[in-house]
Symmetry: C2
């Protein structure tokens, strides 16, 4: 196993240290957060983002929230903890990993004998969730790397590297693993408007990994696909329904349609914690609608006239028929995604 | 005919006055340009842009270049004029209208009896080209408006309004005409990275016209199409090959693929001066590659790490099979675009 310290989030016993991703690539600024409310605010403000990382941050937030609850009576403690969990659940509606992590934390709390034991168990559980997500990305990378051939130019969207996962990355981790296997890999990274995670974070991570990357606007992906300059597309996911329909960063559906039209494989890489078997199809996945200012302004500069309305759905849903495969830590699912997901979950 | 003074470019006898489109929407700043070099620089810097407007600006540049040539011998004059025409041709390689306008100016110069007569004829010809482009947009609007039904939400890309055409606009002019006909029309405007002509110019023009517009990032078009919230897509063109393949602002191909996938009509609106019958297919259309900084920076702010390479094709080509119709000033072409173009040109 590789030695690797992921800067996205680190547990310091009574607080977490996170790399403020909104400041990248200009500045590597770290924040130490000791209470759940500041983590909630870091999540809504995208200081830490990416479905797996959101889950891990949510778990630590619950642990920190628990540590600060002064009640020693279990019932009262659990009531206060529910408010913490509710606050965390309200931060980002789409990423499945958050709700999975919060569920695990709630179950651990309910199972504990007394408050002291519960507090210790919650910290342990958050650390376990963190370790699990890291391990899962390693397996995803191992399965996925086989799909990336020597000489490939891989197109990816948004950021799915270590920063997004607290591990080795999902889609971007697959690319990095293929590169470590000695393959000659080039990446086309979409900038990913509105918040430019591709331009700011994916390029930054690829540059550190020594992988050649060319930044493009989201609107250029079709140009390169139609010219035969893309060998495959690989993206992450925020929530996958029982039938394989996949919610991911806005623009993903477009890339999947373009890939299909140009006969280019389209892969989704995500841990099984991203799968939500309770939703039959992608139509049921809640899509976060973010503020208009993220579209009318770029890094603080207004780009549209005053008074212009903007839409800002943060995610879209790619119907499973556009996918070539879903790469999970338990293996690669192809063809009948409904069956494949049932077997793997 | 409507009373309308287009601010994009105005002929002042010995100079042109242009609205610097790079300063919009923050500032309505005008520039007076008295020599062809400053117009060439305004074209490469996108202070004036849009295929029809590029053609008109190119024609005025040649007229201004001619007025400043001191030679009175026709042969010497023509040699110097050729250098002016060459400089203008080198500004923007894709927009067909520029080359059509420069050809007309060259022919007028060669046909003139003496230098004094040629100079007058060149000014007249530039004014005629300007008037022609304006009239052509009126006809395009008339033909196109019939395709936009009451209650439609129309998605458009880049800027194709008055600013882009020196007239009433091509695609955006069609939308505005439909609105004038009393139809209830809403517009989804893509921001159009990298240079944000949609966010800066299209919204500005629609706001002035009182047409409800929602700004979206380029990556959101697929989301709204797949949700059934787009009734048709209408865009302009920079060059159309003999078979109907259409070069337009980068991202257009993607919108056409998405429209086809979602059974949404996809219209191109352009004057016949945009059609280049000398090119059999879109593969032959030269695509302008612009500077990396337009992608790595937004309005002067760096968004990517130092040292990251970016691609910046300014246009892409939409194969004719994705088009529902091409709307020209001579009528609407559907089905066999090769035949339709042959008949109309």
């Amino acid at each position: 196993m590789k030695k690797f310290k992921n800067p996205a989030i680190e547990w310091l016993g009574n607080r977490v240290r996170i790399l403020d991703q909104t400041r990248l690539p200009q500045k590597e600024a770290y924040l130490e957060l000791g209470d759940y409310r500041s983590i909630a605010s870091a999540l809504t403000g995208l200081k830490i983002r990416g479905a797996p990382a959101i889950g891990v941050a949510g778990a630590y937030a619950v642990a920190l929230g628990a540590l600060k609850i002064e009640s020693t009576a279990k019932a009262e403690f659990l009531e206060k903890l529910r408010a913490v969990i509710k606050a965390m659940a309200d931060t980002r509606p789409t990423a499945r990993n958050l709700f999975r992590a919060l569920d695990r934390m709630r179950q651990v709390a309910e199972a504990g004998a007394d408050v002291a034991e519960i507090k210790t168990a919650l910290v342990d559980e958050a650390v376990k969730i963190h370790a699990w997500e890291m391990e899962a990305t390693l397996e995803i990378n191992r399965y996925g790397a086989g799909l990336i051939k020597d000489g490939f130019t891989v197109l990816t969207h948004c950021n799915t590297g270590p920063l997004a996962t607290t591990g080795y990355g999902t889609a971007l981790g697959v690319i990095m693993r293929a590169k470590e296997q000695g393959k000659d890999i080039k990446v086309l990274a979409t900038e990913t408007r509105p918040l430019l995670q591709g331009a700011r974070l994916t390029t930054w991570e690829l540059q550190k990994a020594g992988i050649p990357v060319t930044l493009i606007t989201d609107s250029m992906a079709g140009y390169f696909m139609s010219k035969g300059e893309v060998d495959c597309v690989i993206v992450g996911a925020d929530r996958i329904a029982a039938n394989g329909d996949t919610a991911n960063k806005i623009g993903t559906y477009t890339l999947a349609v373009l890939a299909k039209e140009n006969n280019i494989p389209f892969y989704v890489a995500a841990p099984t914690t991203t799968i939500d078997p309770s939703l039959a199809t992608g139509d049921e996945i809640p899509i976060e609608q973010r503020s208009q200012e993220e579209v009318t302004h770029i890094q603080g500069t207004r780009i549209a006239p005053v008074g212009i309305a903007a839409a800002n759905p943060a995610f879209d849903v790619t119907p499973h028929r556009y996918l070539t495969a879903i790469i999970t830590e338990k293996g690669i699912i192809r063809g009948n995604y409904g069956e494949g997901i049932k077997e793997i979950i």
